[in-house]
């Protein structure tokens, strides 16, 4: 419990900063919706006259910019990137931070098992991520209501989309944690998390743009594609399961690796 409290206290500033940033992002994006709405109607009319294959080639099939939900689907991708980086940061630093800060000796000398250390840290990180998650929930619903025509929009697809955030965050948290245990030493966290998040993002964006290639099924950005979820009010289940499986494997792998890891001593 002490470890949990301490970890959470260490994270709280970063959690607040990320939550504010993400909330602000939702606000800014949704507040410009009214100014692009008119362009968007024109845009949609023109899109309708394009042949289907062409739209598929450019990955523009599910985008309907004239409704607030269509627009929300487009911007939610960027919110996902932010959430992913936060989660990956926490994941990569979770246990490696003790070695970089030379506090591993101190922590491991405490009369608690490594499994317990890991569990406390993991729970603290999840608590932090959940706070950010809640902020996304609240700000999405509030700002969607404020900026949609007459406060009307379909709630169910948004609800389904919001529910995906937790799994999405867990994916990056646990994969980050696993990678940090697989490499010899994590010196600095951001390069790793940027590489993981942008690697997967580009994989999906590029695959979507040019179609066919199947590499993008590795990417959670594909598993929880906002446009798909908002349109169908459901997940692309086989793909969503990939994420869940990866999370489970990463958690198990991390526990096994951490309990056997040779921790470098400070001196």
């Amino acid at each position: 419990m002490n470890i949990y409290k301490h970890e959470f206290k260490m994270k709280i500033n970063s959690v607040i900063a990320w939550s504010l940033a993400v909330g602000l992002m939702i606000f800014i994006y949704l507040s410009i919706f009214s100014s692009i709405e008119i362009d968007a109607k024109l845009f949609n009319e023109m899109m309708a006259s394009f042949p289907e294959e062409f739209l598929i080639a450019f990955g523009m099939t599910d985008i309907d910019m004239s409704t607030i939900l269509g627009f929300f689907g487009l911007i939610f991708l960027f919110i996902q990137i932010g959430l992913a980086i936060q989660a990956a940061n926490y994941g990569f630093s979770l246990v490696s931070v003790e070695e970089t800060d030379l506090t591993a000796d101190f922590l491991l000398a405490k009369p608690v098992g490594r499994t317990k250390i890991m569990t406390s840290k993991l729970l603290a990180a999840i608590t932090g991520l959940t706070i950010t998650n809640l902020v996304v929930w609240i700000s999405s619903f509030v700002f969607l209501r404020m900026y949609s025509d007459g406060g009307q929009f379909e709630t169910k697809p948004v609800l389904v989309l919001m529910l995906s955030i937790a799994i999405f965050q867990l994916f990056f948290l646990t994969v980050g944690m696993l990678i940090s245990l697989l490499v010899k030493r994590v010196r600095s966290v951001p390069p790793y998390s940027m590489a993981l998040v942008f690697g997967l993002y580009v994989l999906n964006a590029f695959g979507g743009m040019i179609g066919e290639d199947k590499l993008e099924i590795l990417s959670p950005f594909k598993h929880f594609e906002p446009n798909y979820i908002l349109k169908h009010a459901a997940y692309d289940l086989p793909l969503a399961w990939i994420s869940v499986v990866v999370i489970v494997i990463s958690i198990i792998g991390s526990y096994v690796l951490y309990s056997r890891k040779n921790i470098r001593s400070a001196v």
Binding site: A21, S35, F54, A57, P191, M194, D213
Partner: protein, 264 residues
């Protein structure tokens, strides 16, 4: 000079990894291009559309059946990759001394702080140029079998020049953050925030004409691939703006680092 070589050696592995990423990305990208190269169906679709509509959507620039159009799409992703690497190298190369507790050693050497900054900046610059060279080289290799015309090479050269400027902007900003941030840990996370922020701005500014002014704040928007391709020129306003940002960041870096209170 020793610091310069030391830094080059220390960053060599990172350069290799980035090089592999760029090469991999390029190969995958152009492998996909084979399916689109002069694909008759897609060409037919494009020919069947009224020219006004094509122009409205910039489709001429992003006509994926031609090598120039395809590269116009790829260049955005290269920009993202290269600027991430640049901002990471920049913010890391100075602040890592404090993180790794080597700063006492390096600052007791008989060199001024300003020459440390210079040597490190040069090392990061060489790395960035090397990565750009790798990007350029692998692109040339990838496109060679399509035997593109003169136009493409001109576009490629301009595109690489634009990428270079964006890289240096992010490198300079990264170095400034590495020097100026009181807490060394903040340097790279702030750099990440900045990079993401400007990337988002570049997306918003493309969404609506009312928000176009935002592009001044995002280096990703400084050089429009469509303009590079069709008008074969780089917008000079943005070149000067970039030079301004670079100069301000470097001056800021020297000033703040020479006064810096070190975290030990």
């Amino acid at each position: 000079m020793n610091i310069f070589f030391r830094e080059l050696k220390a960053n060599f592995k990172s350069l290799l990894i980035w090089g592999v990423i760029v090469i991999l990305f390029n190969t995958v990208g152009f492998a996909k291009f084979t399916a689109y190269y002069e694909n008759p169906e897609l060409l037919e679709v494009l020919n069947g559309m009224p020219p006004a509509m094509l122009a409205a959507f910039n489709m001429n620039a992003f006509n994926l059946t031609t090598i120039s159009g395809f590269f116009g799409v790829m260049i955005t992703f290269f920009g993202l990759l290269l600027s991430i690497s640049a901002v990471m190298w920049g913010s890391d190369i100075i602040s890592k001394e404090e993180r790794d507790k080597t700063v006492e050693f390096s600052l007791t050497l008989p060199v001024r702080r300003s020459s440390i900054v210079t040597a490190k900046t040069l090392a990061a610059l060489v790395n960035s140029i090397a990565l750009l060279g790798i990007t350029w080289g692998i692109t040339l290799v990838s496109v060679s079998k399509y035997q593109p015309g003169e136009d493409f090479y001109k576009f490629l050269t301009l595109g690489m020049l634009a990428l270079f400027i964006v890289q240096i902007v992010f490198l300079a900003v990264g170095i400034f953050l590495g020097c100026a941030m009181k807490q060394h840990k903040r340097a790279s996370s702030t750099a990440v925030f900045l990079l993401l922020g400007t990337y988002f701005l570049s997306i918003i500014s493309g969404m609506s004409e009312n928000l176009e002014f935002l592009k001044y704040f995002s280096p990703f928007k400084y050089f429009d691939p469509a303009m590079l391709l069709h008008e074969s020129k780089i917008d000079l306003t943005f070149v000067w703006l970039s030079v301004g940002i670079i100069a301000a960041s470097m001056i800021g870096a020297y000033v703040t680092y020479s006064k810096r209170d070190l975290y030990i």
